[in-house]
C-alpha cells in the first residue's frame, strides 16, 4: 500500500517481525543514542540489577515500532507518539510490530501501536497520531 488513505478504520498496517534481538543490536543502539546504561549490554551488570540477563533499551523498541510509519512520510508525519513500556525485551526475543487504525478525523489518523514478543505478550503499547498533509 502506498497511501494511508486506502486504509479503513479497524484495519492494520502490514506487521513487521524483527530478527531475534542480538547483543550487537543493543550495542549499536547504545552507541547511536548515547545511552550506555550497562544493563543493556553487559551481562554482569544486568545480573547485579536483578535481571536474568541484558534487556533492550525501551527506546530501541519504541524506535523500531515507529518504522511502521516510515513508508508514509511523503503524505504526512508522526505528530504524536506515546507509549508505555510494559514488558522487558531479552536477548533472542522475537518482536513483532503492529499498528491498527482506530479512527480518522480531519486528516489525523489515530493508530493503536504495539510491540509483541514471541509469547504474545505486549512489551510496548501506545498510540500514534499520523497527521496527513
Amino acid at each position: 500500500m502506498n497511501s494511508l488513505s486506502d486504509l479503513q478504520e479497524g484495519k492494520s498496517l502490514q506487521v513487521i517481525q524483527l530478527k531475534p534481538v542480538s547483543r550487537l543490536d543493543l550495542i549499536k543502539y547504545a552507541g547511536a543514542s548515547g545511552d550506555y546504561n550497562p544493563i543493556h549490554t553487559i551481562d554482569e551488570e544486568a545480573r547485579k540489577a536483578g535481571l536474568p540477563g541484558i534487556i533492550a533499551h525501551g527506546m530501541w523498541t519504541m524506535g523500531n515500532l515507529a518504522k511502521l510509519f516510515t513508508p508514509y512520510y511523503h503524505e504526512g508525519f508522526v505528530k504524536d507518539y506515546s507509549v508505555r513500556f510494559i514488558g522487558k525485551v531479552f536477548l533472542n526475543d522475537v518482536i513483532t510490530l503492529k499498528a491498527t487504525l482506530k479512527e480518522k478525523f480531519d486528516q489525523q489518523y489515530r493508530f493503536d501501536v504495539a510491540a509483541v514478543n514471541q509469547h504474545d505478550s505486549e512489551v510496548v503499547k501506545g498510540e500514534v497520531i499520523f497527521s496527513k498533509y
Binding site: 543514542s33 548515547g34 525501551g58 518504522k67 516510515t70 511523503h74 508525519f77 506515546s82
Partner: protein, 149 residues
C-alpha cells in the same frame, strides 16, 4: 524526594540534527530508509532535505537541571511521549531543554515507587517549538534507599 524540583528547568543547549548521527540512529533502530539517509531522496521529498526519525531526540543534549541528581543505575523508563509540529530536518539547529513537570510517590506491591515526569522541549533558532517530549521515570524503593545511604 524530588518534589522540591518540580518546575525547575535545565539550561538550553544548542543541538544540530547531524547527518551522520541520523544515519547511525536510523540504522540502529533498523530503519535505514532513504528519507532519513539518502540526500537525493531528501531533496526530491516535500521536505527538500532528509528528516530524522521521531525518536531521534534521544540523541540530543537537554542540559542539566540544577540540583537534580538522579541515580546512575536502577531507573526504569515507564512512559515516553513525543509531540511534533513538523519532522526534524537534517542539518537544522534545535535548542533543547528539560523541565521537571511532576513527581509523585505511590505505594505498590514492591514498596513505595517514585514517578518523575520530565518534559523536554526543542525549538528552532527563531524560538518556535518544533517538538515536546515527556518521559516518566520510575524510581523503585530499592533505588531510593540506595540514594539516601
Amino acid at each position: 524526594m524530588f518534589e522540591q524540583h518540580i518546575g525547575k528547568c535545565s539550561n538550553k543547549v544548542k543541538n544540530i540534527v547531524e547527518r551522520g548521527a541520523v544515519k547511525k540512529f536510523a540504522e540502529a533502530i533498523g530503519d535505514p530508509h532513504p528519507i532519513f539517509i539518502d540526500e537525493e531522496t531528501g531533496k526530491k521529498s516535500r521536505y527538500q532535505r532528509n528528516i530524522a526519525p521521531p525518536t531521534f531526540p534521544r540523541v540530543f543534549d537537554f542540559g542539566v537541571i540544577d540540583g537534580l541528581n538522579l541515580p546512575k543505575k536502577g531507573l526504569i523508563h515507564g512512559e515516553q511521549v513525543f509531540h511534533y509540529v513538523r519532522p526534524l530536518i537534517v542539518g537544522e539547529e534545535i535548542f533543547c531543554w528539560l523541565k521537571v513537570e511532576d513527581y509523585v510517590e505511590k505505594t505498590g506491591k514492591s514498596g513505595k515507587m517514585g514517578f518523575l515526569v520530565l518534559k523536554g522541549f526543542g525549538e528552532d533558532p527563531t524560538g518556535e517549538i518544533i517538538f515536546t517530549s515527556k518521559q516518566t521515570i520510575i524510581i523503585t524503593e530499592a533505588v531510593r534507599k540506595e540514594m539516601i545511604v
